[in-house]
């Protein structure tokens, strides 16, 4: 299942990172992404597969508003 909720990276130890899924802590592998502490990542089966782009997230919201106000 695709967890829509991204996890926040708290600490990095080599290819592993401790992440926070809104209060649930887990260790995930981050070797497939370029991530730093503080980043939000999408996790599948224990592996981070992408880093959330927060600037774009805000742009998306703006885009929605634009489209809807047309």
């Amino acid at each position: 299942m695709c967890l829509a909720v991204p996890a926040k990276i708290l600490e990095i130890h080599g290819r592993k990172a401790k992440v926070d899924f809104g209060g649930v802590y887990r260790e995930v592998d981050i070797s497939l992404v370029n991530a730093r502490a503080g980043d939000y990542v999408i996790v599948h089966a224990g592996y981070a597969i992408e880093v959330l782009d927060r600037a774009t997230a805000e742009e998306t919201l703006k885009l929605w508003e634009e489209i809807l106000s047309q």
């Binding site: 695709c2 497939l32 599948h44």
Partner: protein, 362 residues
């Protein structure tokens, strides 16, 4: 998750869709999209404004074939420790499910990730990890094998890739699909390019969408607009996560470890170049090679899909779960007949959990 503010935006999107006076059929190929659609009743909302959303083969557990489940069962019954994701263990096959095998005394372990399976192997047993999933999980299998050293560890790869299945669906042409909602997280890996190819070849518009209710509604809206205007482009509603180029590092790992093979999907004939098998360089981790002598017997047999189960049609978007005579009666999550009632990404389980249980069909 669906806040009041969102509800207002959702209403506006639906209002806009209504004004478009649509009569369209589209498909998504993601269990989580189906979950969002049914959980929030968006499928009904959309149907009321002329958008028929079909679900496709978006559940990795569901498209795994009976023969693959038998391979796993055979290995378990031959004394291997079989490590598997939770819902896969409950899928019934001709000779039982992995969970039943466990009850018979076989060593079947439910794991959360391939790393858990490797940890089990470190304790010395012969461990086989059943590698299930599309481009979202295949990279983790690849990355783990690239650094694995354990001689007593192997993978039975049942990984598959989504774009060849989309192509097969379009070519089969059983339903006239006017547009596709593409799976958000598969797209984080593969990027936009594979969809552009489909758009160019089959003139089919597509939108990559995320998993919140508004993501999906927005995705449908963008798709409807393209259909209305006769465009066949690819739009990315989920750009906060999906980059146009995808995740090259994950794709490199997949390329390093896997080779592409033709493979059958449940409900489909063999789909060319849609399977990922472990390549020569990592052959020592390939359970099919390592245990060829055990699996020979499985490979010489045919395993049918459960009699009467309509998962095949559910997975091709031709049948709604409630149209299956077993739904909610002979087939329930506690005693599933087919995988679509087992997996939490399966159409039948989703329908049952959000709507069936509460009456009507139960």
């Amino acid at each position: 998750m669906f806040r009041l503010e969102d509800r207002k935006i959702a209403d506006r999107i639906v209002e806009k869709l209504k004004k478009m006076e649509l009569q369209i059929t589209i498909m998504h190929v993601c269990g989580t999209h189906q979950d969002t659609l049914v959980r929030h009743g968006l499928d009904i909302l959309l149907e009321n404004v002329g958008v028929d959303v079909r679900q496709g083969p978006g559940c990795p557990v569901c498209v795994t074939t009976p023969a693959e489940i038998e391979e796993a069962l055979w290995l378990a019954r031959h004394g291997k420790t079989v490590a598997v994701f939770g819902d896969m263990a409950r899928v019934p096959s001709k000779t039982g499910s992995l969970l039943q095998a466990k009850a018979e005394g076989c060593d079947v372990r439910v794991v959360y990730s391939i790393d858990d399976a490797i940890k089990l192997a470190e304790k010395g047993k012969e461990v086989v990890f059943i590698g299930i999933g599309f481009e979202t999980t295949a990279p983790s299998t690849a990355a783990a094998l690239m650094s694995a050293k354990n001689e007593n560890f192997s993978v039975l790869s049942c990984h598959r890739t989504v774009p060849p299945a989309l192509e097969a669906l379009i070519k089969m042409g059983e339903t006239k699909l006017q547009g596709l909602i593409e799976p958000g997280h598969v797209s984080t890996i593969i990027g936009i390019e594979p969809y552009k190819k489909l758009a160019a070849e089959f003139k089919i518009p597509q939108v990559i969408a995320g998993f919140e209710p508004l993501d999906l509604l927005m995705g449908v809206y963008l798709l409807a607009e393209m259909i209305k205007n006769g465009e066949s482009d690819v739009k990315n509603e989920y750009s906060r996560v999906v980059r146009p180029e995808g995740n090259p590092r994950a794709r490199e790992a997949m390329k390093e470890v896997f080779v592409t093979i033709d493979v059958k999907w449940r409900g489909f004939p063999v789909i060319p170049r849609s399977g990922l098998e472990i390549g020569e360089r990592y052959a020592q981790f390939n359970a099919r090679k390592k245990y060829e002598h055990i699996l020979e017997e499985v490979h010489s047999q045919e395993f049918e899909e459960p009699e009467g189960c309509r998962c095949a049609e559910v997975l091709r978007g031709l049948c709604q779960p409630v149209e299956c005579p077993f739904f909610g009666t002979a087939c329930r999550p506690e005693h599933p007949v087919g995988p679509c009632m087992v997996s939490f990404e399966g159409g039948c389980a989703i329908e049952w959990n959000y709507r069936g249980r509460k009456g009507g069909n139960g």
